[in-house]
Amino acid sequence: MELTGAEIIMKVLKEEEVDAIFGYPGGAVLDIYDALAKTDLRHFFVRHEQGAVHAADSYARATQKVGVALVTSGPGATNAVTGIASANSDSIPMVVITGQVSSALIGNDAFQEVDIVGITRPCTKHNYLVKDIKKLAKTLREAFHIARTGRPGPVLVDIPKDVTIAKTEWVERDLLKMRSFNPTYKPNKKQLCKVIDLIKEAKKPVIFAGGGAIISGASEELTKFAQATNIPVTGSLMGLGSFPGTDPLWLGMLGMHGTYRANMAISECDLLIAIGVRFDDRVTGKTDEFAQNAQVVQIDIDPTSIQKNVPVKIPVVGDCNLALQYLNVKIDEEEDKASLNGINKDEWLQKISDWKSTTPLKYDHNGQIKPQYVIEKLHEFTDGDAIITTEVGQNQMWAAQYYHFNKPHHFITSGGLGVMGFGLPAAIGAQVGCPDKMVVDIAGDGSIQMNIQEMATAVQYGLPVKIVILNNRYLGMVRQWQELFYDGVYSSTTLDHNPDFVKLAEAYGAKGLRAETTDQVEAVLKEGLETKGPVIMEFVVEREENVYPMVPAGKAITQMLLV
């Protein structure tokens, strides 16, 4: 059966069980869009290519499937780059299809031509330019395989227009073999046995879970492991939800805006079991003083993450879920259970509990609406069960601190790259993937304006996303740094010319609500969350509220500024 390149793309997408694509048409992808219109694939027409990629990213996180974005050549492709780089930092499985000018024109500085394969080489897991239609199906299949296998990541496939028009024989799927790509899933059991021995000796152990624990689906095994060994758990921003945020063993997030007890526990612990983390600088602070008393165990599927920033005593390369399964089996088999679950640990747990009671997460309730209060109320009104997306900055940190995530795949944030403008398109992607869930974007007034155009997408497809804008008329996090470290010189961080967000919501055909005083917060949240369609809820918050604790850049994580 002869098919055009465009038809082959559709067939492979079907084969890969793709059920939603996010994209934006243009000259180089006209034939792909024509073929798309003749399938039953759901396509979500965004208003900016960056939105398409963030939506695909978030769809992937909410559903654990591969996200797919489709954009045109040139500016379409360059607009997609931020989203691709973000997905790369956060290890999100995604295939981005970009149109390219016709093969004959490549290299000619043609209209809407850029070398997107060259541009995205350092920010994709892998990328391809398909010059031969005979290789199209195989390349797309490889792209999906690479995107979801091992440490996931975005793969870009650049397809010249003439390849989408040309015809070739359709070749059925064969066993996919790649001689140069075979990630290690099964962890080394000897290494894991050493972990058990270390747990027996440890008096002050801590588990540190990251995005890898969520991606590998290890939450259940992680919870079992921590509870069986009675070891407290902290998490990176990407690890929130991997362990129940309301469990007594939960320490809260660590790092620059981590809790006091998490950061103190890290610096005092004698054993640190790191699961699916890469020891980002926002987590470690000054690396020389990070966990300096601890023997470090690091479990990760990506060997390059191990021993990169922090010296590791026991490296374990493999899938976090498989590693934890094995550890749990070993724990079950152990005859002397007491040696594992904590005859030595009472003192340690007591110390942590003291840190919690003397220095909890807290904020001053006086004055104007407190952003932290809004998030606490949001948690209450959504039973802690909403999918929360965030923008980047104070809104993101308060969401991380105060929403107390209990389940994985419920906190969707641009962690590694830190992209302002992520939250709204991410809410759209999550809502497409999980139509029955409550999806809330926690936003700042600065960030929301970076991709506000996606309101039109939400309204067009009737996606009932809820947007909580914590409006302080500042770029709050940058302002906070300026207040603390730049003598209060608020250089270009004041947002005195914000639009009227309620009217803006209405202009898009959505609902807009505003709370200006603390006593209006509950009513606005209640009405907003109960409304069927998309809603913007604006909360006029205390202007100069800061995120605390805060570790100044380059300092040890024990050197926290507290409220």
């Binding site: 060259g118 080489r121 330019l129 140069s180 790509f181 060997p303 021993q307």
Partner: protein
């Protein structure tokens, strides 16, 4: 402490692969001291021989990062193994009449050869290990070296390659 390492890297023989490797080094601030690339006996596989200098932890990262690239099939570190190393150089050296005999003597001692002669210069071809090549250049330097073109090292293990 910084160490010199010799890496022998098998890669897919495809457009863009060298750029991925060069990009990895520039993007992460690693050094490339020398680099040579050519097809192997299997036409769809190329071998890159690279010399890089860094401390031990970074060398480990370099090897792991290289291996992570989808087009990289195998990374061998030959540094602590037995190997034969050669580099080819073409050297254009001033050859005034009073120096000609001396240059030819040096060429002879190093088992290199004169491949082109001009009115006032020789062009010499030498294939040697880096140490020998450096020694050769040191001896020629006083004569006045006009131009040098070097290929970068190629290295082959004396036994079967181990990771």
């Amino acid at each position: 402490m910084e160490e010199k390492h010799i890496l022998s890297i098998l890669v897919d023989n495809e457009p863009g692969v060298l750029s991925r490797i060069a990009g990895l080094f520039s993007g992460r601030g690693y050094n490339i001291d020398s680099l040579s690339v050519a097809e192997t006996i299997e036409p769809d596989i190329s071998r890159i021989t690279m010399i890089t200098t860094a401390d031990r932890v970074i060398i480990e990262q370099i090897k792991k990062q290289l291996h992570k690239l989808i087009n990289v099939i195998k990374v061998y570190d030959l540094t602590d193994q037995k190997y034969v190393q050669r580099e080819l150089a073409l050297i254009k050296v001033h050859a005034k009449s009073e120096n000609r005999a001396e240059i030819l003597r040096i060429v002879d001692i190093f088992r290199s050869k004169v491949v082109d002669v001009g009115i006032d210069h020789f062009t010499i071809e030498i294939s040697a290990s880096i140490e020998k090549l450096e020694a050769f250049l040191m001896l020629l330097k006083p004569m006045g070296i006009m131009e040098i073109v070097r290929t970068g090292s190629v290295v082959i293990g004396r036994n079967n390659l181990k990771d």
